[in-house]
Amino acid sequence: MNLFKSTVGRKILMAVTGLCLVGFISVHLLGNLSVFWGADAINAYAKHLHDLGPLVWVFRLIMLGLFAVHITFGIQLYLENRAATPDNYAVQKTLVTTFSAKTMVFTGLIVLAFLLYHLLHFTVQITNPEISARNLALVDGHLDVFTMVTKSFQNVFIALVYIIAMIALLLHLMHGISSWVQTLGWSTGSSQDKVTALGKIVAIVYGLAYIAIPLLLLARIVK
């Protein structure tokens, strides 16, 4: 049975792709936080990304591959696990598992739905053309990403979509960010409790930082 069929093999592929995605959201978060440093900072960040030229497309293809593997196996494992588990007990008590562990596939799918919206919103820029960077006046010869972002998040609907999606991401990470240590065979039993606790802290930091962007802009604490 090869890697793509084995029960452990597919978990390992999920862990490795999940970890790469964590790497991506780390870098992405650092870039996004530049909005708090004002228009020049985030516009310069956007310009740097655009200047990468064809490299951007290489990067996008890699991301597509990572998501494809992670999502395909995520859904496949979920369906298999559901098929393996019959109708529920009349009384069932779980002792140690968490809400986030039980909802991985759902929080994942919320993140996926959000991702598609996010790309249409900020990359393709077709959901709110009136505040799209490409329809705004250039500043110093480059796109005014700052105005697009601040105007977007002053819209309650858009800000709420982002906040809800980031709560889903937070929940996904609550389990995922430490789960890979076990999946890749690095935990030793006594270590896993600490790793899990640390993972939850990291997930909360990521989640709150991501939520802060739409929230502070919506509240006009940052303009």
Binding site: K11, P86, Y89, A90, L95, V96, T97, L184, G185, S187
Partner: protein, 251 residues
């Protein structure tokens, strides 16, 4: 004490089954859980009714036959204790107790609380053994095995194959059971030659038998009457990763 039992009754594999309620009167706190059921069954037999079918054998916590989910927990509420070693002093007068069979697609119910656990045997047959000739009893210390390694293997060998880990798992995965076997044998010199083949064969059998995939909920460890640690699942994952590397004896 007087209790109310809600017991899963199912005539056979095809029957739909349902919970039936039985009063349990004058239960002594010194009885084991199975002795309490024996008394209920005596009463049912006297009334000409079909007694509750349940699995048991040793009644001393080593055979792994007893298999009941009691108030939502495999083997009941006492930690690291099989149903046969659970005593009625854990309960108090007036308690309502729900008793159900292990539930997993790979464990079809045969009758009442009895499930068919052949699927665990199939996983064992796929690689839960060493196929070298062991000969007569060797001299002591012929195989130098460090104490921590021997202890580790013994901890894994504590698994009695009861299946509570599967009954507790939200995915009905048999990973804790399988990992205990894989880890025990992979730790010892006799098991090493077949370690690569074993981990692949046993995890493949696990899926073929209709168990789910492990997603690190760790409910298995919490339910296990023998305290088998999920560190053995990490060990199984390591053994699987190792099996992906080429070796010098492979072409």
């Amino acid at each position: 004490m007087d209790l109310t039992l809600h017991v899963w009754r199912q005539k056979g594999p095809q029957d739909k089954g349902k919970l039936e309620t039985y009063p349990a009167k004058n239960v002594s706190p010194d009885m084991s859980f199975l002795e309490m059921l024996d008394e209920i069954n005596d009463g049912l037999i006297r009334q000409g009714k079909d007694p509750i079918a349940f699995d048991h054998d040793c009644r001393e916590g080593i055979c792994g036959m007893c298999s009941q989910v009691i108030n939502g927990r495999p083997h009941g509420k006492q930690e690291q204790t099989t149903v046969c070693q659970l005593h009625m002093r854990q309960y108090s007068d007036g308690d309502e107790i729900f008793i159900e069979p292990w539930r997993a697609k790979a464990f079809p119910v045969q009758k009442d609380l009895i499930v068919d656990r052949t699927s665990l045997d199939v996983i064992m047959q796929a690689g839960g053994y060493v196929s070298c000739h062991t000969g007569g009893v060797p001299d002591a210390n012929v195989h130098p095995i460090p104490k921590p390694v021997a202890d580790y293997a013994m901890d894994a060998a504590e698994c009695i194959g009861c299946g509570a880990c599967i009954a507790a798992c939200p995915n009905s995965s048999a990973m804790l059971f399988t990992s205990a076997k894989v880890a025990q044998l992979a730790a010892l010199p006799q098991g090493k030659p077949e370690a690569r083949k074993r981990v692949k064969a046993m995890t493949e059998a696990l899926l073929d038998e209709g168990f789910g995939n492990c997603t690190n909920h760790y409910e298995c460890e919490a339910a296990c009457p023998k305290g088998i640690s999920v560190k053995f699942i990490a060990k199984l994952n390591r053994e699987y990763l190792k099996s992906l590397m080429p070796t010098s004896t492979e072409a």
